[in-house]
């Protein structure tokens, strides 16, 4: 009984640690962990292994909220309008043109995408890009509820990230530039 309690406590404590850490200098994510850009669900042979989870960022409330701060500070709202989409695609639905895995989103921010998404390589330090990645995933309900952000102290047009419904991701895999419908 006592042993069980001790184990339960340790598990609890560990879960808390991961979620609550305020680690301003986390270990950098190794280059090899970042998968290549996925343009399509179709792949020869087996499906590629799913990318590693970046728990430093995606399972940590502070990193996610830092991402939220940066999302505003770096004017992501200018095109993505709080995740709802404007001249940039919405981020809170289930459509992920260039993939929903953290590595995909990282690559999207770092390299840019055709038709408007600029490359932020060298302009946003890697650590902050990972914070943005974690936040972007939370917009579609892809992070744990106890990690997602609460409402902001501003005029709130939509529910906070923690009350957004989870949207199971579907990689559309068709860049708009390839469909020919875009100018």
């Amino acid at each position: 009984m006592r042993a069980f309690l001790a184990v339960a406590l340790m598990v609890l404590a560990f879960a808390g640690c991961k979620r609550e850490e305020r680690e301003p200098r986390p270990e950098p994510v190794a280059e090899r962990d970042i998968p290549a850009i996925v343009m399509s669900d179709l792949a020869p042979g087996e499906k590629p292994p799913s990318s590693p989870d970046y728990p430093h960022y995606t399972e940590n409330a502070w990193q996610v909220s830092e991402g939220k701060r940066l999302f505003e500070a770096m004017n992501c709202n200018g095109c993505h309008a709080r995740g709802g989409g404007d001249i940039g695609p919405p981020l809170m639905d289930r459509q992920w043109i260039y993939g929903s895995e953290p590595g995909n989103i990282f690559a999207t921010i770092m390299e840019g995408r055709p038709n408007g998404m600029p490359s932020f390589r060298n302009m946003i330090p890697e650590q902050q890009v990972w914070q943005l990645v974690a936040y972007v995933r939370s917009l579609a309900g892809l992070v744990r509820k106890d990690v997602a952000s609460g409402r902001s102290d501003d005029m709130s047009a939509r529910p906070s990230e923690q009350s957004l419904p989870e949207e199971p991701p579907r990689n559309a895999g068709i860049p708009p530039s390839a469909t020919g419908t875009q100018p």
Binding site: P125, Q127, Q128, D153
Partner: protein, 320 residues
């Protein structure tokens, strides 16, 4: 450097009024404490015929009335002293307002997590100075400080000049300060505002009016054109790295307002809101590892190749 951030070393009329009040309160308090302590010691140590727990508890006697008179007198004296203190407090409070309405200069101070943005108000937009963490004021001139916060509650406090005033998001407060002798005074955020509350300091530099005017003119000027190749390369590094996303250097295309304005970085005495002095070595350390110096600060770690890093430093050194 003692007294560089202290309520007991007033450098302005308001801090002086408050300091006098501190000493008045301290004096009366010391008197009361002494009186009570003496009375206590006398009460317990005066000679008694018998001290033990078996002693018959003494029923109240005729002495009660005499005791009652003494206690009554002590209470009356307490009330009188409290009235004296209350009156002094109200009088000082009124005096603190003396400067209000006579201000000749208005400065907006904006508290950020965890640094101070300072914007001098001026009728002409072109003559508004923007700087950070260092407030210059002319000696003998009442200055109105308008306080706002975009994030959490901070508190503006320069103990040598005045008491504190909170910066509350969503509303604005103001405080008037005046320095009556030149000098540099340290101020600090006084309301807990998160991880780096301890390093949210700023300096107030009080200087004669001519010196202040000269400083103001220098601050108005855009950044100087870098004089050598190294510095020119540094500017390029600045403009195509993460620096440009948050900082502004007037005279270049860097115009972000998220972090402190760096146009005249080297004219300031402190870096990172008081975490380190503004020297080349500390600047290098701050850019290379801000999170080691001030964990949790908004300045990210930017990995720059060593030659770029040196060039950037050389450029920043020219921002005087």
């Amino acid at each position: 450097m003692n007294g560089f951030q202290s309520a007991l070393h007033p450098a302005g009329p308001q801090a002086l009024h408050i300091e006098r009040l501190i000493w008045l309160f301290t004096g009366i308090s010391a008197f009361v404490l002494l009186a009570v302590t003496v009375a206590l010691l006398w009460a317990v140590f005066r000679r008694r015929e018998r001290r033990d727990l078996a002693a018959e508890p003494r029923p109240p006697e005729l002495r009660e009335r005499r005791l009652g008179r003494v206690v009554g007198a002590a209470v009356a004296l307490t009330v009188v002293l409290l009235f004296v203190l209350l009156t002094a407090s109200f009088a000082t409070d009124r005096r603190l307002l003396d400067l209000e309405g006579r201000e000749q200069l208005t400065v907006h101070v904006i508290g950020h997590q965890w640094w101070w943005e300072i914007r001098y108000a001026h009728g002409e937009p072109a003559r508004r100075v923007i700087t950070a963490n260092e407030l210059h004021i002319p000696v003998g001139v009442p200055v109105r400080i308008e306080l706002t916060s975009p994030d959490v509650i901070h508190s503006f406090w320069v103990p040598n000049l005045h008491g504190k005033q909170d910066l509350i998001p969503g509303s604005s407060n103001a405080i008037t300060i005046e320095a009556d002798r030149p000098g540099t005074y340290r101020g600090q955020c006084a309301e807990f505002c998160g991880l780096q509350h301890a390093f949210m300091a700023f300096l107030v530099v009080a200087e004669p009016e001519e010196t202040f005017d000269a400083w103001y003119e220098r601050q108005l000027a855009p950044a100087r054109e870098p004089g050598n190749d190294q510095a020119r390369r540094g500017r390029e590094v600045f403009l195509r790295s993460a620096c440009v996303m948050c900082h502004r250097i007037r005279g270049t295309s860097a115009s972000a307002t998220y972090g402190p304005d760096l146009t005249h970085l080297k004219s300031r005495q402190i870096l990172a809101a008081g975490a380190v002095p503004d020297t080349r070595g500390h600047l290098a350390a701050w850019i290379a590892d801000p999170q080691g110096i001030k964990p949790g600060a908004r300045m990210p770690i930017t990995a720059l190749p060593p030659p770029d890093f040196q060039a950037l430093l050389a450029y920043l050194e020219t921002l005087e």
